[in-house]
């Protein structure tokens, strides 16, 4: 199967960077440490034990889960596309008889296998034994489904932005804006439930919270099982929408590709 082969290729590629992967793990822990100190200060200053329905422990539970989701769903396919468009190496995928989008996803899944092992396990251990996150088996299963979907959604969104390279050639600035906005609106900076009700109502119509926040809420049992399933269906809907846009834009983008250099 060609897409399973792409998963294997992705895994082989990522294993070539042994140290890179361990750095990611360290970054995940550093993020957690930063948020620990920030919220310690906030709780200390406020002098209360509950802020907007979060105890300090629940807040840490939110962060460890959101860091795990954020790291697991991370993709730099947008930069990969820019780079291969700019230098022309995209040709090597265009000349092969496969669907490029599916091949890239599969390769990224290959990377994720390693991320799951090197970061998922330590973060899960900290979450369970240090922070004391509690969940039910059914919520955990729903969380895993929603996590996989969050990855697909984030990937499709990044892929769409990556194709901007066909028009712009350089995309660094655009991606910074995208990453910043996405991270904030996905709830990877702070829980979206801390925002005013009006803002949250707007967020509900945007795709971003389905990239991190929703998965975290499912894990932390903030939704009932029925609510969780509805959220998962909305995730699927967004993926379908983005995949349709990606396919449409790809047709346009392909015609702009000029294999530079040769």
């Amino acid at each position: 199967m060609r897409y399973i082969a792409a998963i294997k290729l992705g895994l082989k590629e990522i294993l070539a960077y042994r140290f890179e992967v361990s750095f990611w793990g360290i970054i995940a822990l550093m993020h957690l440490a930063v948020w620990y100190f920030v919220w310690s200060a906030v709780f200390g200053y406020a002098g209360t034990t509950v802020i907007r329905g979060f105890t300090f422990q629940q807040m840490m539970g939110y962060y460890i889960a959101s860091i795990a989701v954020d790291h697991f769903t991370f993709t730099d396919v947008d930069q990969d596309i820019t780079e291969s468009v700019r230098t022309g190496t995209l040709f090597k995928d265009i000349i092969r008889p496969f669907n490029i989008f599916l091949t890239y996803i599969s390769q990224n899944v290959g990377y994720k296998i390693l991320v799951a092992i090197t970061q998922g396990i330590p973060l899960a251990l900290i979450a369970i034994f240090v922070v004391g996150i509690k969940t039910t088996p059914i919520h955990f299963v729903l969380f895993m489904v929603s996590l996989a979907l969050a990855f697909l959604l984030k990937f499709s969104f990044a892929y769409l932005f990556g194709m901007a390279a066909f028009w712009l050639t350089k995309t660094g600035g655009l991606f910074r804006i995208k990453n910043g906005v996405q991270k904030f609106l996905a709830g990877a900076v702070m829980p979206l439930s801390l925002f005013p009700a009006g803002a949250q109502a707007v967020f509900a119509f945007l795709p971003f919270q389905y990239m991190t926040f929703v998965s975290v809420q499912i894990l932390l049992q903030k939704y009932t099982i029925a609510e969780s399933i509805i959220k998962i269906l909305i995730q699927i809907l967004w993926i379908v929408i983005f995949y349709a846009i990606v396919s449409y834009v790809w047709q346009k983008a392909r015609k702009r590709f000029e294999v530079v250099g040769t």
Partner: protein, 325 residues
């Protein structure tokens, strides 16, 4: 006669780029005002290629030969014209077409950069669904001919150009394609590797009937490989035929090397000619091709000659003449 597997009719392709002068001021100016220039890379070319041919596309830099190959391999969309390769339209039936096609761009790698070529080969095995036995047989065969047994186990980024190029060829040919595009497959490659690559192409052509379309600036490639060449210049095909015919129709002069057995003072006498180099006992002259025989007998009659050799002008010279037209 074999049937034509590539049919190209009136193919046109334009590029739009913007140009600016060097310098900071020009850079700032180009933020606001951009002058776009249309470059016609292909001005309506037509040709046919039969199964089992090895075709050389030659032409000066920027003549449009790479563009032609990119259009045929489905990388670029033409502005107009029709292309049928192996019975497919390269853009609308992409996946089915590409299953039968191999491509090498000498300047760019198709191997995964951080891992050994062997890993890419195993990936391609699954992409093209090559049966285990075929894969092993072909891979071992190619590795043997190209002499890269250890090289395929080294990460691509650590390979030299010549090593990498041989690995690229395998990546393009593992699935035993019927049609292969090679864009400058010997650029920057040493003589030994070049020989290996040429032998390899000839072998596959002979044994599998693989059709090759090659662009190159190396006349050695052309002379060793291509029975038919197409010279592309300014986006048009200016010559399409055999190398032999090209020589015959364009070779107007020949070179004669003469070694005298004792020092001589040479004069042309009644014949036209040009002295290229000259010492007391050795000289090289260029004469009109149709007078070669007469000049030789005249020289032999009037001078004491130890050795005499007649040569065609190098193919590069012929091609240069055509390029300059």
């Amino acid at each position: 006669m074999e049937e034509a597997i590539v049919l190209v009719k009136d193919l046109r392709k334009k590029f739009r780029t913007h140009k600016r002068e060097a310098g900071l001021l020009a850079s700032i100016k180009s933020l606001f005002i951009r002058k776009y220039v249309n470059i016609e890379a292909l001005k309506g070319i037509s040709f046919q290629i039969k199964k089992g041919e090895i075709i050389g596309f030659i032409g000066p830099n920027g003549a449009g030969k790479s563009t032609a190959i990119k259009v045929l391999s489905g990388l670029l969309f033409p502005d107009s014209g029709t292309v049928s390769c192996l019975g497919f339209n390269p853009w609308n039936e992409r996946e089915r077409y590409l299953s039968n096609v191999g491509v090498v761009f000498g300047q760019k790698t198709q191997l995964s950069w951080d891992i050994p070529p062997l890993d890419t080969y195993y990936f391609l095995k699954d992409v093209y669904e090559i049966p285990d036995a075929d894969f092993k047989k072909r891979l071992n065969y190619m590795i043997k001919i190209l002499e890269i047994k250890e090289i395929v186990k080294t990460p691509t980024r650590n390979l030299s150009l010549g090593e990498r190029m041989r690995c690229e060829l395998i990546a393009a040919l593992l699935h035993n394609p019927t049609l292969v595009f090679l864009d400058e497959p010997t650029v920057g490659v040493d003589i030994i590797a070049k020989e290996a690559i040429r032998e390899f192409i000839l072998k596959l052509n002979k044994e599998q009937g693989t059709t090759f379309i090659i662009t190159t600036h190396d006349m050695g490639d052309i002379e060793k490989l291509c029975k038919r060449i197409m010279i592309i210049n300014h986006g048009e095909i200016v010559y399409d035929g055999s190398l032999q015919d090209l020589k015959q129709s364009y070779v107007k002069t020949k070179f004669i090397d003469i070694k005298f057995s004792e020092p001589q003072e040479f004069r042309f006498g009644n014949y036209d000619g040009k002295i290229i180099s000259k010492t007391k006992i050795e000289m090289k002259i260029e004469v009109r091709a149709k007078y070669v025989n007469k000049i030789i007998s005249w020289v032999l009659k009037n001078y004491k000659v130890a050795d005499i050799t007649v040569m065609n002008p190098p193919i590069e010279k012929i091609i240069t003449q055509i390029y300059k037209k």
